[in-house]
C-alpha cells in the first residue's frame, strides 16, 4: 500500500476534517466533490460502496475499522461491480484483508476504480456535525482550506437533482441468476411470474432476490414508458431504488402513474417515493437521512417491528397521501413514512430495503408477497 498523503474534507459550511488520503490519487489541483452523508452499518462496506443509490455522494462510515474482509466477487450491488460512491471517509482503512472469499484488498480496489478514501478522520465528530447541521456538500482535497470550502459550495445541490440518468442501464436485459445456493434465503414457489423492473440504479440483490423468489426478470431503463413496459406483458412491475431527488425524476413518475391499476406494482426506496408522487403525495429532503442497517420499522398491519436496512435522504410526506393510499409502515424513531399500499391498484412499496445487502433479512418476505400479488 502506498504511503498515505495528508488531505482534508471541507464542508460547505466551512468546517474542516483532517485525514490521510488512500485509494486513488486526488485530482492534482482539484478536489472530489459530493454530498457528504454517513451510514451506521457495522458490516457490509462493499455493498455500500457499490450501491448505485450512493451515486454522487461522499460516504462516511461510522464503523471505525473498514476493509478488514477485503473485496469479494459475490457481495457487489452494482451491475458492473464498480464502486458507485464519489469518495469514502473512514476512521481506519485496513491494510490487510482477511476472508476466505476475498479476492482483493479494499485500498487496491478503490485505487483501481479511481475512488479516494480519506482515512484517519475523526468520523464521529463529522457525523455529529452532519446530524446537527444536516447533510451538505463537501470537497476532499490536498489544497488550502479556503479553496476546498469554495469548491464544496460550488457543488450542485442534491435537491432537484436527477442522478438516475447516470446509473440506469442503456438498454433492457434479462436477469437469470439469483443468489448462490449457499446464500439463498428465499424459496421459489411453483409459479414463474414475469417481472419488468424499472432500473433507476437498482441494487443487484433486489434483482437476485426476485429471481430467488421465482420471478423471470426483465430490466428496463429509467425512461421506458408505461406502454413499453406493458408491451413486454409482465405479470407485475417493479420500481427500483436509485439516487437523487425523487421529484426530479418526472418521467419515471409518469410511467408509474400510467401503470397504476394495470399491473401489480412493487417499489423499493426511490420506487416508494415515485409511487407516492404518482399517487399525488409530496416528498421532502430529510435533515441527514436514514442510512444504516438497524432502522426499526413498525409494520402497521401486523404490529410487528422489523429491523431494516435503509439508505435514503428524501422521504414521503404521509399527510399528503391520497385517500386511496394506506400507510402500511412507519419508522419507529421519527414516525416517517416507510411503506404504503394502494389496494385498488394492487400496488405497494417500502422506503427501506427488504433485499438487505447489507442488512438484516427481516423483510425479505416482501418479495414473496409481490409474487403472491402477481399470481393471485
Amino acid at each position: 500500500m502506498p504511503a498515505p498523503r495528508p488531505a482534508r474534507l471541507a464542508l460547505a459550511d466551512g468546517t474542516l476534517f483532517e485525514g490521510l488520503a488512500l485509494g486513488a490519487p486526488l485530482p492534482h489541483d482539484g478536489a472530489v466533490l459530493g454530498e457528504v452523508v454517513f451510514t451506521t452499518g457495522m458490516t457490509g462496506y462493499q455493498e455500500v460502496f457499490t450501491d448505485p443509490s450512493y451515486t454522487g455522494q461522499i460516504v462516511t462510515m461510522t464503523a471505525p475499522e473498514i476493509g478488514n474482509t477485503g473485496i469479494n466477487e459475490d457481495d457487489t450491488e452494482s451491475r458492473d461491480a464498480r464502486p458507485q460512491v464519489r469518495a469514502i471517509v473512514v476512521r481506519h482503512l485496513s491494510e490487510l484483508r482477511s476472508n476466505h472469499r476475498a479476492t482483493e484488498g479494499l485500498d487496491a480496489w478503490l485505487t483501481r476504480h479511481g475512488v479516494t478514501a480519506l482515512t484517519e478522520v475523526d468520523t464521529r465528530a463529522l457525523v455529529r456535525h452532519l446530524r446537527d447541521r444536516g447533510s451538505q456538500n463537501g470537497a476532499i482535497g490536498e489544497g488550502s482550506a479556503a479553496t476546498l470550502v469554495d469548491r464544496a459550495r460550488s457543488a450542485p445541490n442534491m435537491e432537484g437533482l436527477d442522478l438516475v440518468a447516470q446509473v440506469t442501464p442503456e438498454a433492457s436485459y434479462t436477469v437469470e441468476r439469483g443468489n448462490q445456493p449457499e446464500w439463498r434465503v428465499l424459496e421459489a414457489g411453483g409459479s414463474r411470474p414475469h417481472v419488468v423492473a424499472l432500473d433507476l440504479g437498482a441494487k443487484q440483490n433486489i434483482l437476485r432476490s426476485l429471481v430467488d423468489a421465482g420471478c423471470r426478470v426483465t430490466v428496463v431503463p429509467a425512461r421506458t414508458t408505461a406502454a413499453e413496459v406493458l408491451a413486454l406483458s409482465p405479470d407485475g412491475v417493479f420500481v427500483s431504488n436509485g439516487p437523487g431527488d425523487p421529484a426530479a425524476v418526472t418521467y419515471a413518475i409518469d410511467t408509474v402513474r400510467d401503470l397504476l391499476g394495470k399491473k401489480p406494482l412493487f417499489g423499493i426506496c426511490l420506487g416508494h417515493q415515485l409511487l407516492s408522487l404518482a399517487a399525488g403525495a409530496r416528498t421532502y429532503k430529510l435533515k441527514f437521512g436514514h442510512r444504516g442497517l438497524n432502522q426499526p420499522v413498525l409494520d402497521q398491519t401486523t404490529g410487528r417491528v422489523e429491523i431494516t436496512s435503509q439508505n435514503h435522504g428524501f422521504a414521503v410526506e404521509v399527510a399528503t397521501l391520497p385517500k386511496s393510499a394506506r400507510s402500511t409502515h412507519i419508522h419507529l424513531n421519527d414516525g416517517t413514512s416507510e411503506g404504503l399500499a394502494l389496494p385498488e391498484a394492487r400496488a405497494f412499496s417500502v422506503q427501506y430495503h427488504p433485499e438487505a445487502a447489507a442488512g438484516p433479512h427481516d423483510t425479505l418476505h416482501l418479495f414473496s408477497r409481490f409474487v403472491a400479488a402477481m399470481t393471485a
Partner: protein, 1125 residues
C-alpha cells in the same frame, strides 16, 4: 401489549456467591431487573445468598432474603411469600437450575406460581445438549458431530468408532468433553489421546449433575462468535451486540479475549449468523428476554456450527450492555412482564428500544486470571473457564482498545508491552506439562529460574511454540514472537488467530520501533502514537532506549505542552446518529471531546477494576454506595471503572461514567477534563480496594484533592516503621517482627523473630504470596515468591512476623470522621489465625469472646482511627491468644467485609462514610455505635478449587476464595448451617466422618467425634487420632494413611461412605503428605475441614439440622426490625 396487571408480586432469584463463571454480572442484572420491575409498580421479592451485592440492599426490593439458594430454602421462601411469578433469567445458571428443580418437584405448580422470562420447556431444550442438538437439526443448523457417554467405554466408541448418534462417523481426537448441567464448563476439557480420554471422562462424569458427558468433534482453531439477542412476546427480535473471540475455538469464551463488534465478518456471513440466532430463539422458544447464541465459523470455507445458547442473561449480556449502552437486563425484565420492545424507550437517545445498537468504536474484553494463587494448576486455557475477572476497554480503533484493555488488567503491563528480559522464556518452554489434571500428587514446588537466555532463532522458535498454546499471557508471547522476527504468517500458523488481529498486533510492534525521544517534540508523531493506545509509561520506556531516561510524567507534560490530550466520546447505542442524553464516556485521541462537564460540585469515585481474588464485588458495592450517598447529598458523582460486570459501570448508577483504565495517566486525564467546569471537591480512593489506593500518592502529587483519609495517613498504616511508631505511642501490642530486604536478610530476621513466622510482601492485597513458614526449610522453599511479589508491587521489602498459632482472629470495620470513630461491626473468625481473613468464616457478633476482650478491641480500633486521622472507612485485624489482644494490621479504606457488616447490622456503613468524607460529622449524621444484634450472621467463603485440578485445597494466609455467602439466624449453629448450605456444602444426616488431626487438635476433635457419634454417625480415623478417640471412649474404624498403603483414607473417601472429613496438619511436609485426601474430598464433593474450629461449627450445624423442621427464613428488613424468632 402493555405490562401484565395480573401479576402483583414477583420473586427474583439471584446467583449466589461469586464463583468462576458466575460473578458480579448477575448483581448488575438482578439490580437492573429489580429496579425495572419496581418502577412498574410490582412488589419485588429478592433471594440471594451473597451479601456483597447491590441487589440485596434492603432499599432495592420490598422484601429481601439473604438465604441459601437451594430447593428446600427457596420453597420455604415461596410458601411464605406466595409470589405470582418467579423470574429466574437474571440469576445465571444457579437461578435457572433452581427454578427448573422447583418446576420438576411440583412446587411451582402446587403454589400456583408462574415462571416468567423463560419456560421450563425452553430452559430444558437449551440446557440439555441432546435436546438442543435435535432442535438445531430440526431447523437445519449444523452442529458438531457428537455423542453422549455415561462411561469411558461409551466415550471410546464415540471417539474411535462412531455410533448412531454420530452418524456412524468417529468424532476423533482431539475430543471435546462437555459434561451436562454444569456451571462455567466445570469438568469440561480436551482429550488428545486415549489415555487423556479415560482420565478426563472420569472427571467430567463426576462433575456432571446427571453423570453424562457430551463428546464432540473438535472444531479447534475455528473462529468463534457470540450474538447477544433479545426477543419479545410478539416475536420481535433484535441483536444487541456481536462479539468476536480473538482466541479461536478451544478456549472458553469467558477466558477469551473478545472484541465487539465482530471484526472479520462480511455482511453476508454476519447475516447468516443473525438468521440462525433468530431461528434458534424461535425453536428453543425463548419468548421474552435476552439470550446469547454462540457460533463457530470455519475460516477456510465459512461453514457455520451452532455451539450453544443460553436462554437467560449472561456475562456476555453484561459485556454487551456495557459495550453498546443497551441495558439488556432492564429490557429483559420488562419484556418478562408483558411489554413489547416497541413499547419501550432507549434511555440514552429517547428513541425506540426496538432497534439494534450500532457502535463507532471498538471494545476489547480481556480476562484476568489468578494462577499465581494456585501453584501447580494447569495454566493452559481450555473449555473450562479459569479466569476470575475481566477488564473492558473502549477505543476508536482495535489497537487502541487492545492496549487500553491490557493496561486495565493491572498485571503490571502498560499495554501490549514486551516481556523479553522480564520472563524466563527458557524455563517456560522447558516445562513440558504445567498441569497434572487428576494426578493425586501434591503440587510441585515452584521452579527455580533457568538461568538461560534465549536469542535469535531459538528465541523466535520458543516464542512461536509458547504462542501456540492458549494461556493467560499468550498475546504477549505473540508480540514478543513478532519482536523476535517471526512473520505474521508464522504467528497465524502457530496460533490460528485470525490474520487481521495478528496484523494489528504486528502494527503495534512496528510502531514501537519508531518511538524515540524526538516524539516528545513532534505533536504529529506523538498524537499518532497516542492514537494507537500507547500509554505514557510505555512511551517513556520506549523513548528511553539508548538515551537518557524519560519518565511517564515527562511524557504527560510534553503532551500537555503540545496539546496532545485525551478527548472523550460518548457511548450512545447509535454511532452518533442521535444526541445522547447520558454522559457515558471513553477516552481516545480525536479532534473534539463530548464530555461537556457540568458546572456542579462533583466527586470522582475510583472503582476497583477487574475482579480478582482479594478484590471483587465487595469493593464495587462500596463504590456504588458512595455514589448513591453523594447523589442524595446533592453532589454530582463521576464514576471511573473498567470492569464490565459491575453495577458501578451501569450508565445510571452515577451522574457520569468514564469507562477507563484505572491508571494514573487515565485518571489524571479525567480530572483535567472534569475540572474544566464546576468544582471538583475531590477523588475517593478508599472504596475500590488496592487499585485506586495505589494511585493516591500520584494523584496527591499532581495536586488532586483526595477525599477522606489523607495519603499520608494511608502511608502511615502501610509503612512498617511508621506503623510501629504509632502503635508504641498508643501502647498497643502487635506480633514481633521485622522488615527484610532480599532473601539473605529474610533468614536472619526469621531466626531472630523465631519460627513459626508469617512472611509477606508489603503493599499487596488478598494475602498475595503470604505464607506461614514453620522452619527454615519452609522459608527456603517460598521466600523468593514473596520477593517476586514485592517487586511486582513496586517495593523491595518483605515483612516477617511472629505467627500466633491457635490465636483467634477478629476483624473490625469502623467509620471515622477525624474526631470520632464509630464501630460498624466486630467479627470473630471461626478458623484460627493463619487462614486469610478473606477465606475464613466469620461471625457477627463474636460468639466466644468475653465482653472485656471485645471492649478492648473496640477501644483499640477507636484509638487507631483517631491517631491516624481516619476520615471514612477503616478495617482493623486483631489476633487474640490467651486473652491477649494483638494488632495484625490496619487498613484505612473500605474492606471486603463492609457489605457483610452492613447487611448483618442493617446499617449502610459505606454510605455513612461517604457523607463523612464530604465533610459531615458522625454526630451531625446521628450515627453512634450500633447495639449488639439479637441475631447471628455468619460469612462463609466459596472456593474455586474444582476449576483447578491438581491444586491443594489447604487454607492458608494467601486468600483464594472468589466469593462469599451469608447465613443469618437466631443462633450460631443455624446461621453457620445456612452459610454452609449457601456455599453448596450439604449438611449430612448420616454416614461416616473421617478424622485425622494433628496432636494439638486431638482434644477438640475427640469432643466433636463424640457428639457426632451420638447423632448416629460412624467415625473413621487414622491410627494416632483413633488412639486419642479410643482413650476418650469413642469407637472409630482405623484407616491407613496413604503412605501405609491401600486400603487407605483416600480409598475410603473415594468409596462414597464418607460425608465429612476433618484433616488438620502442621508443617510443610505433613501438609504435602495429606494433599491427596483433601483433593479426593473435593472430587467426591465431601464437606472438608482443614481447621478443627470449622469442623466444630459444622458439627453444631449438623446437630441443629438433625433437630429437623423446614428451613426458617426471614427477610433482611425483618432482621433489621429486630426479628428474633
Amino acid at each position: 401489549m402493555p405490562r401484565r396487571d395480573d401479576l402483583k408480586k414477583i420473586l427474583i432469584i439471584g446467583s449466589g456467591p461469586i464463583v468462576i463463571g458466575q460473578a458480579c454480572e448477575f448483581d448488575y442484572s438482578g439490580t437492573q431487573g429489580a429496579k425495572a420491575l419496581r418502577e412498574e409498580g410490582y412488589e419485588v421479592v429478592l433471594v440471594n445468598s451473597n451479601p456483597a451485592t447491590i441487589m440485596t440492599d434492603p432499599e432495592l426490593a420490598a422484601r429481601t432474603y439473604v438465604e441459601p439458594l437451594e430447593p428446600a430454602t427457596l420453597t420455604a421462601v415461596l410458601e411464605r411469600e406466595r409470589p405470582c411469578a418467579v423470574l429466574p433469567t437474571l440469576g445465571g445458571q444457579t437461578a435457572l437450575n433452581l427454578a427448573l428443580a422447583l418446576h420438576h418437584d411440583g412446587t411451582l405448580a402446587r403454589l400456583g406460581i408462574e415462571l416468567i422470562g423463560a419456560s421450563p420447556e425452553a430452559i430444558a431444550k437449551a440446557e440439555d445438549r441432546k435436546l438442543f442438538k435435535e432442535a438445531m437439526t430440526k431447523i437445519g443448523l449444523a452442529s458438531a458431530r457428537s455423542g453422549y457417554a455415561r462411561s469411558f467405554e461409551e466415550a471410546r466408541e464415540i471417539v474411535e468408532r462412531g455410533n448412531a448418534e454420530t452418524g456412524g462417523h468417529p468424532t476423533g481426537y482431539p475430543a471435546i468433553l462437555r459434561p451436562s448441567f454444569t456451571l462455567g464448563g466445570t469438568g469440561g476439557g480436551i482429550a488428545m489421546d486415549r489415555a487423556e480420554l479415560e482420565e478426563k471422562v472420569a472427571w467430567a462424569l463426576d462433575q456432571s449433575k446427571v453423570g453424562e458427558v457430551l463428546i464432540e468433534e473438535s472444531i479447534l482453531g475455528w473462529k468463534e462468535f457470540e450474538l447477544e439477542v433479545i426477543r419479545d412476546g410478539a416475536d420481535n427480535f433484535i441483536v444487541v451486540c456481536t462479539i468476536e473471540n480473538l482466541d479461536p475455538m478451544g478456549v472458553h469464551t469467558g477466558d477469551s479475549i473478545t472484541v465487539a463488534p465482530a471484526m472479520t465478518l462480511t455482511d453476508r456471513e454476519y447475516q447468516r449468523l443473525r438468521d440462525a440466532a433468530r431461528a434458534v430463539m424461535t425453536e428453543i422458544g425463548v419468548e421474552t428476554g435476552g439470550s446469547n447464541v454462540q457460533f463457530a465459523v470455519n475460516p477456510r470455507d465459512g461453514r457455520v456450527i451452532v455451539i450453544e445458547m443460553n436462554p437467560r442473561v449472561s456475562r456476555s449480556s453484561a459485556l454487551a450492555s456495557k459495550a453498546t449502552g443497551y441495558p439488556i437486563a432492564k429490557i429483559a425484565a420488562k419484556l418478562a412482564v408483558g411489554y413489547r420492545l416497541d413499547e419501550l424507550r432507549n434511555d440514552i437517545t429517547g428513541t425506540s428500544a426496538a432497534f439494534e445498537p450500532t457502535i463507532d468504536y471498538v471494545v476489547v474484553k480481556w480476562p484476568r486470571f489468578a494462577f499465581e494463587k494456585f501453584p501447580g494448576s494447569d495454566q493452559r486455557l481450555g473449555t473450562q473457564m479459569k479466569s476470575v475477572g475481566e477488564a473492558m476497554a473502549i477505543g476508536r480503533s482495535f489497537i487502541e482498545a487492545l492496549q487500553k484493555a491490557a493496561r486495565s488488567l493491572e498485571t503490571g503491563r502498560d499495554g501490549l508491552c514486551s516481556l523479553l528480559g522480564l520472563v524466563d522464556y527458557a524455563a517456560l518452554q522447558s516445562d513440558p506439562n504445567l498441569g497434572r489434571d487428576l494426578v493425586m500428587d501434591p503440587p510441585a514446588m515452584p521452579r527455580p529460574p533457568s538461568g538461560q537466555t534465549l536469542e535469535g532463532e531459538a528465541l523466535k522458535a520458543t516464542l512461536l511454540q509458547l504462542s501456540s498454546v492458549p494461556t493467560a499471557d499468550r498475546l504477549f508471547y505473540v508480540g514478543d514472537a513478532l519482536r523476535a522476527g517471526a512473520t505474521r504468517d508464522e504467528v497465524v500458523a502457530a496460533t490460528a488467530i485470525d490474520p487481521w488481529f495478528v496484523d494489528r498486533i504486528a502494527r503495534i510492534v512496528e510502531a514501537e520501533r519508531d518511538v524515540d525521544a524526538s516524539v516528545l517534540a513532534e505533536p504529529t508523531k506523538l498524537r499518532a502514537i497516542k492514537r494507537m493506545g500507547f500509554s505514557d509509561s510505555r512511551i517513556a520506556q520506549l523513548a528511553s532506549r539508548g538515551a537518557a531516561p524519560i519518565t511517564a510524567d515527562e511524557v504527560r507534560a510534553a503532551r500537555k505542552r503540545l496539546g496532545v490530550v485525551a478527548t472523550y466520546g460518548r457511548v450512545d447505542t447509535c454511532a452518533a446518529e442521535f444526541p445522547a442524553h447520558t454522559p457515558y464516556l471513553y477516552s481516545s485521541y480525536e479532534s473534539s471531546s463530548e464530555a461537556r462537564p457540568s458546572d456542579r460540585k462533583k466527586v470522582i469515585i475510583l472503582g476497583g477494576g477487574p475482579n480478582r481474588i482479594g478484590q471483587g464485588i465487595e469493593f464495587d458495592y462500596c463504590c456504588v454506595h458512595a455514589s448513591m450517598a453523594l447523589r442524595e447529598a446533592g453532589v454530582e458523582t463521576v464514576m471511573v471503572n473498567c470492569n464490565p460486570e459491575t453495577v458501578s459501570t451501569d450508565y445510571d448508577t452515577s451522574d457520569r461514567l468514564y469507562f477507563e483504565p484505572l491508571t494514573l495517566e487515565d485518571v489524571l486525564g479525567i480530572v483535567d477534563e472534569e475540572q474544566q467546569s464546576g468544582e471538583l471537591l475531590g477523588v475517593i480512593v478508599q472504596y475500590g480496594g488496592q487499585t485506586p489506593l495505589k494511585l493516591a500518592r500520584g494523584l496527591a502529587a499532581a495536586g488532586v484533592p483526595i477525599l477522606g483519609t489523607s495519603a499520608d495517613a494511608i502511608d502511615r498504616a502501610e509503612d512498617r516503621a511508621r506503623f510501629e511508631e504509632l502503635l508504641n505511642e498508643l501502647g498497643l501490642a502487635r506480633p514481633r517482627g521485622a522488615i527484610a530486604r532480599g532473601v539473605a536478610e529474610a533468614f536472619e530476621v526469621a531466626a531472630s523473630v523465631g519460627y513459626p513466622v508469617v512472611v509477606r510482601p508489603s503493599y499487596v492485597l488478598g494475602g498475595r504470596a503470604m505464607m506461614i513458614c514453620h522452619d527454615e526449610e519452609d522459608l527456603r522453599a517460598y521466600v523468593h515468591l514473596a520477593v517476586e511479589a514485592a517487586r511486582e508491587a513496586g517495593t523491595q521489602t518483605i515483612l516477617i512476623d511472629e505467627f500466633l498459632s491457635d490465636a483467634i482472629e477478629v476483624d473490625v470495620d469502623a467509620v471515622g470522621d477525624g474526631k470520632k470513630v464509630v464501630i460498624g461491626g466486630v467479627m470473630q473468625h471461626i478458623e484460627e489465625a493463619g487462614v486469610h481473613s478473606g477465606d475464613s468464616a466469620s461471625v457477627l457478633p463474636p460468639h466466644s469472646l468475653p465482653p472485656s476482650v471485645v471492649a478492648e478491641i473496640e477501644s483499640a480500633t477507636r484509638a487507631l482511627g483517631l491517631a491516624l486521622g481516619v476520615v471514612g472507612l477503616m478495617n482493623v485485624q486483631f489476633a487474640v491468644r490467651d486473652g491477649k489482644v494483638s494488632i495484625i494490621e490496619v487498613n484505612p479504606r473500605a474492606s471486603r467485609t463492609v457489605p457483610f457488616v452492613s447487611k448483618a447490622t442493617g446499617r449502610p456503613l459505606a454510605k455513612i462514610a461517604a457523607r463523612v468524607m464530604l465533610g459531615s460529622s458522625l454526630q451531625a449524621l446521628g450515627v453512634g455505635d450500633a447495639p449488639r444484634p439479637k441475631h447471628v450472621a455468619v460469612k462463609e467463603s466459596v472456593f474455586p478449587f474444582t476449576k483447578f485440578p491438581g491444586v491443594d485445597t489447604q487454607l492458608g494466609p494467601e486468600m483464594r476464595s472468589t466469593g462469599e455467602v451469608m447465613g443469618i439466624a437466631p443462633t450460631l449453629a443455624e446461621a453457620f448451617g445456612k452459610a454452609q448450605l449457601a456455599s453448596n456444602v450439604r449438611i449430612p444426616r448420616s454416614g461416616t466422618v473421617l478424622i485425622t488431626v494433628r496432636d494439638a487438635d486431638k482434644d477438640a476433635a475427640t469432643k466433636l467425634a463424640a457428639r457426632l457419634a451420638a447423632l448416629g454417625f460412624r467415625i473413621a480415623a487414622t491410627e494416632g487420632t483413633g488412639k486419642a478417640l479410643a482413650s476418650a471412649g469413642v469407637t472409630a474404624q482405623i484407616v491407613n494413611k496413604v503412605r501405609q498403603g491401600s486400603p487407605h483414607v483416600v480409598d475410603l473417601v473415594r468409596g462414597g461412605e464418607v460425608v465429612m472429613v476433618v484433616n488438620t496438619t502442621v508443617g510443610a511436609k505433613a501438609i504435602r503428605d495429606s494433599y491427596s485426601i483433601r483433593r479426593q474430598s473435593l472430587l467426591s464433593d465431601v464437606a472438608m475441614f482443614t481447621t478443627v474450629a470449622g469442623a466444630v461449627a459444622f458439627g453444631e450445624a449438623i446437630e441443629a439440622a438433625a433437630r429437623g423442621g423446614a428451613p426458617r427464613v426471614r427477610t433482611l428488613q425483618e432482621w433489621a426490625a429486630g426479628a428474633a424468632d
